[in-house]
Symmetry: C2
Subunit: 314 residues, 2 copies
């Protein structure tokens, strides 16, 4: 059994992650314990290489469009992973929105990471907007601090194929982040197979030109169980091709339709990335806390993992 | 055996067309006869429902980008079909760029069409730019004249999925053209499966909402045998997703790669249109006069026709 760290360091394809959001801070006592137990049970049953623990920000500064669901602060990802998920024998990849840290706090956080004996993973997330960035450390500075103070910490970055559709520069941003210490990338949820294939293609060409080895690109998939979830995903910046949005909005069972589409998108991406030698992985999450959508994310994880892993149909 | 007219009037899927461009006007005598004989031999061997005869315009007014191939005037499509292709026992669909006609000439052309005893088909093409439009009859007027003076002439329109990517209104233009008498549509060559699926989807939704029956949408496919042909197709306004353009430009055999991609795009479109009840057809052409590309268009026609026709894999 290869560990997540080994898979990342050897730039292997097939990394399978599951993603969760910590519970809302407003939940307390018994209700919180129930949520945590449900998450633990769900994740323990999955053959995952690691668990992504998101840190949700109020991204309202990014857009003037009203947020379809109200923003409710959640428990800090690192706190949640270290306390309530401590007994879960699965590596955690902690999302850290860097703008929330001033330099001193970020430095002490990285020093603490360096002292931890277990394998540690984080994804550093830039501010959603220029306005939101002013308060904290910049993403570039955060990468430098992480490299200097916590060299054993495996740092990942975010890749957004939708940005690649406008200007075709996301692969250059990926390369720049690799130079700053990123060992792997996680995309936002993908429903636009074309944009993602184009990003993979441009990345593969640039890496080949520069005689560099690719690092794992972990593609996120997320079921969409209602028109409101679809609105929310679009609000988050996830692109849906017009036909696919039409199909989802008009389908009798939007959840089932979205899972079927995600499996098909995954298969197309896995095949394409394999041809180009980009080591693809998966990350499955539910952006909704409805039970049906969470159950669907578990089923989707199983289907995608089977199709991605060499022992699967590949 | 159902005729092309019956297939169009009964709004049937599976219409299979092959498209040719008449020879350059500068060619004469023996050389012209050789070209015509080669076209006749090629088309006779194909199981086509009809032959599209293009009328190539100098579209340079549409863009400031230099034309990759020089524009050389070709023999008028109607003249060519009626003279040199007369003995070919295949219905011809004559492209007519309406801006080339003033009202009087267009009226007499339509009166002549009305007197022909055989089944007659035409595709009326609008001017490539506002500047080019000023000289002749407008597309709207041309539809009206055709309807009034040649009611038995089966008139088709052009559908461009690439336009649908900008503003999502091409399906409304299709409906407006149906109202003006269009019985079928022919697309430009498709390499962007997403834009075409989105157009089909929006069209199907609008038709259902309006309780109207769809008419055949004939999707054009064209092999791409060189980087120069690719440049030319892009100059013509054909969209290539970034990854697909990368794959073509970097492939060892661009012609083979383009044919394989076109077959895959066709299969995806046929499946999707079948689900939505849009009667799809195919039209295969070569934008290049290189023998290898023309041969590839014949092979592509065979593969797509097999996959489209009910007796095929569908």
């Amino acid at each position: 059994m290869t560990t997540l760290a080994e898979k990342i360091l050897t730039k292997s394809p097939g990394v399978c992650l599951y993603g969760i959001t910590p519970p809302k801070r407003a939940i307390g006592g018994e209700a919180l314990r129930t949520v945590v137990e449900a998450q633990l049970a769900r994740i323990s049953a999955l053959a995952v290489d690691g668990l992504v623990v998101y840190d949700i920000e109020d991204e309202s500064s990014r857009t003037h469009v009203p947020r379809p669901f109200p923003f409710l602060p959640t428990i800090d990802a690192a706190t949640y992973a270290d306390s309530m998920l401590r007994d879960l024998g699965v590596p955690k990849i902690i999302y850290r929105p860097v703008a929330r840290f001033d330099r001193t706090t970020f430095e002490s956080t990285m020093r603490a990471e360096a002292k931890r004996p277990d394998e540690r993973f984080t994804v550093l997330v830039g501010a959603p907007s220029r306005a939101a960035a002013s308060a904290g450390i910049s993403l570039g500075d955060a990468y430098r601090v992480a490299k200097d103070l916590a060299p054993s910490l495996l740092v990942g970055g975010i890749a957004i194929a939708e940005r690649h559709s406008h200007g075709f520069a996301e692969h250059d941003r990926i390369i720049a982040k690799m130079d700053q210490g990123c060992r792997f990338f996680v995309t936002q949820a993908v429903y636009d197979v074309t944009a993602t294939k184009s990003l993979i293609s441009d990345l593969a060409i640039r890496l080949e030109r520069d005689h560099r080895e690719p690092v794992p690109v972990i593609v996120t998939f997320s079921p969409c169980g209602s028109v409101k979830t679809l609105d929310f995903m679009q609000w988050l910046g996830i692109a849906f091709p017009r036909w696919l949005e039409n199909d989802l909005r008009r389908s009798r069972d939007i959840l089932e339709a979205s899972v079927a589409l995600a499996i098909r998108i995954g298969e197309e991406l896995f095949e394409y990335a394999r041809e180009l030698g980009i080591p693809l992985g998966i990350n499955v999450e539910s952006v909704s806390i409805r039970k049906a959508e969470i159950d669907a994310s578990v089923a989707l994880f199983g289907a995608l993992a089977a199709s991605l892993r060499p022992s699967g149909n590949g």
